[in-house]
Amino acid sequence: MTTVTLQYYAQLREQARISGEQVSTSAASLRDLYEELRVRHGFSLSSDALKVAVNAQFSDWNRTLRDGDTIVFIPPVAGG
């Protein structure tokens, strides 16, 4: 199991009803982790519509998880 810190922005924050959380997961990649979270929180956006950043750097969705990673999922927003 890997323990990571998650931060949610915009629609994801609203749908998860929290702005962040710490999770222990067996997911191998960022994409697997997002799919796991999608089921848990009912996220409406697919990973294709999102950017993901790990430890303040944009990252590839296939990146493997490491203990202590801080992961941010970022949807595009339109408000003005």
């Binding site: 922005y9 915009a10 629609q11 924050r13 609203e14 702005s19 409406s44 956006l45 519509a49 950017k51 950043a53 303040a56 750097q57 944009f58 590839d60 941010v72 970022i74 949807p75 595009p76 927003v77 339109a78 408000g79 003005g80």
Partner: protein, 522 residues
């Protein structure tokens, strides 16, 4: 109701009077100007008013609005007659309602003095002896120029020519007079005059940016006022570009303002961007952001993007320099409609676009003044609930370059947008199309043309050959024509897909035109 009107016939004063009823008003004051029987010793038996209506209406509206703002009255209206008037007829009517009588009297006086002085309305007097003369309206005494103090607690001096004072920013070593001259020479386009656009426009106008273009197709709604700080409650229903232009003129009269009352589209955005040094994207529309991004990449005009969601915002500067990342480097495709949250659906706290718009203004000034900036490119995420921000460096090597590069992505994006924008256009007759600047291209077969000639200069390329003979087409807007609009529609979309963005199809084809017979009879 408008604040100023022209009337060519006698009008119903009771209705005007009723329109100024206001629950907060404790006083009403009216002024009536009548036609009298003499002027400067000559007997007059009537007169005629002639107005340059467009200008008179705009200036009259301004005068009454000034009076409302200056004296803080609740409602005011001025009506000026035009045409022939007899002795005793009402020439001007002004009504003002306000909380207290003093402001009502003063506002009334202000309006009549300014109207007489500023409106392009001329008076022709008819004398008893049969002579007539146009009478100039000169030497108006303006009571308010002699006011030292009036109803409420701030005094207004007579307007003098405004001299901007930028000393607080030129004092900055990095700005100075050289920087100020750069700002004065700069042309900046602000797309969207809403929550983000209001602070951007305010700060750029205040800073003395020489020319500001404003794009906004909306009218002010009451729901805008919690975050759109350029506007007042009494502006509701007015086009935002006009309101914003007026506000900027009041804030810094030295700024030149250009307004675009329709959203930019794939057909004109590149031309518009080429006229500006910098673009600030402030809409609440993802489609507009992608369109702006693509035009920025193709024209090399830097773009400052921001957007907000509830309590958060995102900020990205697209420098449009080769090798620097763009919006598509992050999110290659525009998300489907409804995927990205908007202020209407998700709500937003007013100061959130205020903060992000202010940051856009900072980025704009940094670019215009060539101030020190972060060397790398990043997406800035700001959460105003927990006060955190994250600066995520964007690696251009992981963006559009993995496909065909930003320029190719922008070309494709614009072509897709263009392919769906106003391909089919309606004309009642072909003369109108020619007058609108279109070159006609007839795609029909020889037999069809013989049976129903166009009766207008045109180029002939049968639809089956349009693909291979596309290079023969002239530059500039073209109107493809066939019998029903079907072949021309298919051809226009195909050519647009090849990057020929100025191609249109006559909607409904020849069948939709009035026949020459219809046109010449009657």
């Amino acid at each position: 109701m408008k604040h100023f009107s022209l009337a060519s016939d006698a009008i119903d004063l009771a209705r005007l009077h009723a329109s100024l009823q206001h629950p907060g008003s404790g006083g009403f004051c009216a002024f009536e100007g009548w036609v009298r029987n003499s002027n400067e010793g000559r007997a007059v038996n009537g007169l005629e008013y002639e107005a340059y209506a467009e200008l008179a209406l705009a200036e009259g509206e301004r005068v009454v609005e000034e009076a409302i703002a200056r004296y803080g009255v609740n409602a005011a209206h001025c009506m000026h007659r035009t045409g022939n008037l007899a002795i005793g007829d009402l020439a001007v009517w002004i009504g003002v309602s306000s909380a207290h009588r003093d402001e009502a009297f003063r506002a009334c006086r202000y309006i009549i003095d300014e109207i007489k002085h500023r409106l392009p309305i001329w008076k022709k007097e008819h004398y008893i002896d049969g002579d007539t003369a146009w009478v100039a309206c000169a030497h108006t005494y303006r009571e308010h120029e002699h006011e030292h103090k009036h109803g409420h607690d701030h005094a207004h001096e007579p307007a003098a020519a405004f001299v901007p004072d930028y000393s607080r920013q030129t004092r900055l070593r990095e700005v100075g007079e050289v920087g100020q001259a750069k700002l004065a020479a700069a042309c900046v386009l602000v797309i969207g005059a809403g929550g983000l656009g209001c602070p951007v426009l305010t700060y750029l106008a205040g800073a003395g940016v020489g020319t500001l273009g404003i794009v906004d197709g909306d009218r002010l709604d009451a729901s805008n006022l919690h975050r759109q700080t350029l506007y007042d409650a009494r502006d509701i229903g007015e086009p935002k570009v006009d309101l914003a232009a007026r506000r900027i003129a009041a804030l810094n009269p030295t700024v030149t303002v250009r307004t675009y009352a329709d959203p930019l589209h794939a057909g004109n955005i590149v031309d518009v961007f080429e006229q500006y040094d910098l673009v600030v994207e402030c809409t609440d529309d993802l489609g507009s952001r992608y369109l702006s991004n693509d035009a920025t990449i193709l024209t090399g005009t830097p773009l400052i993007l921001a957007s907000v969601y509830q309590y958060e915002g995102q900020l990205q500067v697209v420098t449009a320099k080769p090798g620097d990342p763009c919006l598509r480097c992050l999110w290659p495709q525009e998300p489907a409609a409804g995927v990205a949250g908007s202020c209407i659906e998700s709500g937003v706290l007013g100061p959130v676009p205020g903060v992000l718009g202010s940051m856009q203004a900072i980025e704009a000034l940094k670019l215009l003044l060539d101030l020190p900036r972060q060397a790398d490119h990043a997406l800035l995420l700001i959460n105003l609930l927990d006060g955190t921000s994250q600066r995520l460096p964007i690696d251009a090597a992981q963006g559009c370059i993995l496909h065909d590069g930003c320029i190719e992505a922008a070309r494709r994006g614009l072509a897709t947008a263009q392919a769906t924008h106003d391909v089919d256009i309606v004309f009642g007759d072909l003369d109108a199309a020619i007058a609108a600047g279109y070159t006609l291209v007839d795609l029909r077969e020889a037999k069809e043309i013989a049976a129903q000639p166009l009766h207008a200069p045109s180029q002939w390329i049968p639809s089956a050959l349009i693909g291979e003979r596309a290079t023969e087409l002239v530059k500039g807007p073209m109107l493809l024509i066939c019998a029903s609009g079907r072949r021309s529609g298919v051809a226009a979309r195909m050519l647009r897909g090849q990057g020929m963005l100025n191609i249109h199809s006559l909607a409904g084809g020849m069948a939709a035109l009035a026949t020459p017979h219809d046109r010449f009879v009657g």
